[in-house]
Amino acid sequence: MPTNMPTDVPGGSGGDAADDTDPPSDPEACTYTAYEDGEALVEYPETGADATGVEADVWAALSEVEDPEMPVGVVDLGLIYDVAVDEDGRCEIEMTLTYTGCPARDVITNDVRCAAETAPGVGSAEVRLRYSPEWTVAMVTDAGREALREFGLSV
């Protein structure tokens, strides 16, 4: 098993699975909503399905970027956490890595930045690494799982 696929990270398989089965204590409450700060929790993986305009173009460009070590896209791996483009065409991408010691870090972040800059309407792009929420295999999309299985990994 490659070291960057920690399939047994604590809490890794399933993530919010418990929320699906535990009945909410307040029947009016939605278990996916953190009412204390009034914001719905963002669901991962982010795939840009709801993105529009230039941001949708950036997501499309990012979907072409493959992990340097495996034939699977970084979007399908669930590594991209957020894409934002301001009105001056400056693009900021928030992404994570499967593990902190990832030796492909510079290659991946550089490929992501270059791909974003190919999107029409993007003047310049920056990549910022984030480590919360922690990446787990649960964040891989169905298409990503299929690609990993074909590659020979059991996910």
């Binding site: 070291t3 604590p10 902190t100 010691g101 290659v107 490929d111 930045r113 922690e134």
Partner: protein, 283 residues
């Protein structure tokens, strides 16, 4: 948590880079350099085991542990770079007496020092768990973002060290070697908990919630009974002679100079005007 003298400190993850006071930033930098240097130097030493560990599996395992620790060093160095430091200033051209790692991680291994590697990683990895847990609710948001990831990765390291402790302790000769390593390393391990010069401000700014004294106590409460359970005699922490080099104040053992010279040698010798860049960068 520890009945805080930091009760008035800023709340968890409430500070970003622009919210730091000048004193708070100095304290944050000291905290990050200390964390990063421990990880970097520990990893640097562990790589010496490649091709020499007693089994292929342990060779790979220790190389993976080293890779993780380099990854953690990078987590903290990244934050220093966001505060304006270059990689050269953080590592390659940082003066050796500006490094504030604990002396434990710079000690050389004896020729037959596998027991040393096992004892050292155990003492270090328990300490790392404790200090990461004390950072979970740090006031500095970019640091808080990274702690959980490092904590999750540490669990394997302790499992690895413990499984080897158990194996070696069941053999009389191997246990004697563990004991020799423990006697040698324990005084240096205590330097993990020595305060640096910005400790008061680190607490006041809420950068770390626990005092070093209470973290040290938790560490002793964990490692002493475990090691004794394997038939080892742990030196009495308050009765041992403190090494002259304290680590956290920039003073180090002679071994550090040699290690520093070795890992900075390539950077000095290559002497490029301009660092190599990846394709597409600055395009």
């Amino acid at each position: 948590m520890n009945g805080g003298d930091d009760a008035d400190a800023p709340a968890a993850a409430s500070l970003d880079r622009d919210d730091l006071t000048p004193e708070g930033q100095v304290a944050l930098e000291a905290l990050l350099f200390r964390l990063a240097a421990d990880e970097f130097v520990h990893a640097e030493r562990l790589t010496e085991w490649q091709i020499f560990a007693p089994t292929i599996e342990s060779d790979l395992a220790l190389a993976n542990v080293a890779q993780d620790e380099f990854g953690h060093a990078r987590l903290w160095y990244d934050l220093l770079r966001e505060l304006g430091y270059s990689e050269e200033e953080c590592i390659w051209r940082r003066a050796p007496d500006d490094w504030t790692h604990a002396t434990l991680v710079e000690r050389p291994f004896a020729d037959d020092g596998w027991g040393d590697a096992v004892v050292r990683t155990y003492l270090y990895d328990v300490a790392e768990r404790i200090r990461l847990e004390a950072l979970v609710d740090t006031s500095y948001a970019p640091l808080a973002d990274r702690v959980g990831k490092a904590l999750a990765e540490e669990e394997y390291h302790r499992e690895h060290a413990l499984s080897w402790l158990e194996r070696l302790a069941s053999d009389d000769e191997a246990r004697e070697r563990l004991q020799a390593a423990l006697d040698d390393l324990f005084p240096h391990a205590l330097s993990l908990w020595y305060p640096g010069e910005h400790e008061t401000e680190i607490r006041a700014a809420g950068l770390r919630r626990e005092s070093l004294a209470s973290m040290r106590e938790e560490w002793l409460d964990t490692v002493v009974p475990t090691l004794e359970g394997y038939g080892l005699v742990v030196p009495e922490p308050d009765e041992i002679d403190r090494p002259a080099a304290r680590g956290r104040d920039g003073s180090h053992t002679d071994a550090w100079v040699d290690l520093y010279e070795a890992f900075t040698a390539t950077h000095r010798e290559v002497d490029f005007d301009r660092p190599a860049r990846l394709r597409g960068e600055e395009a």
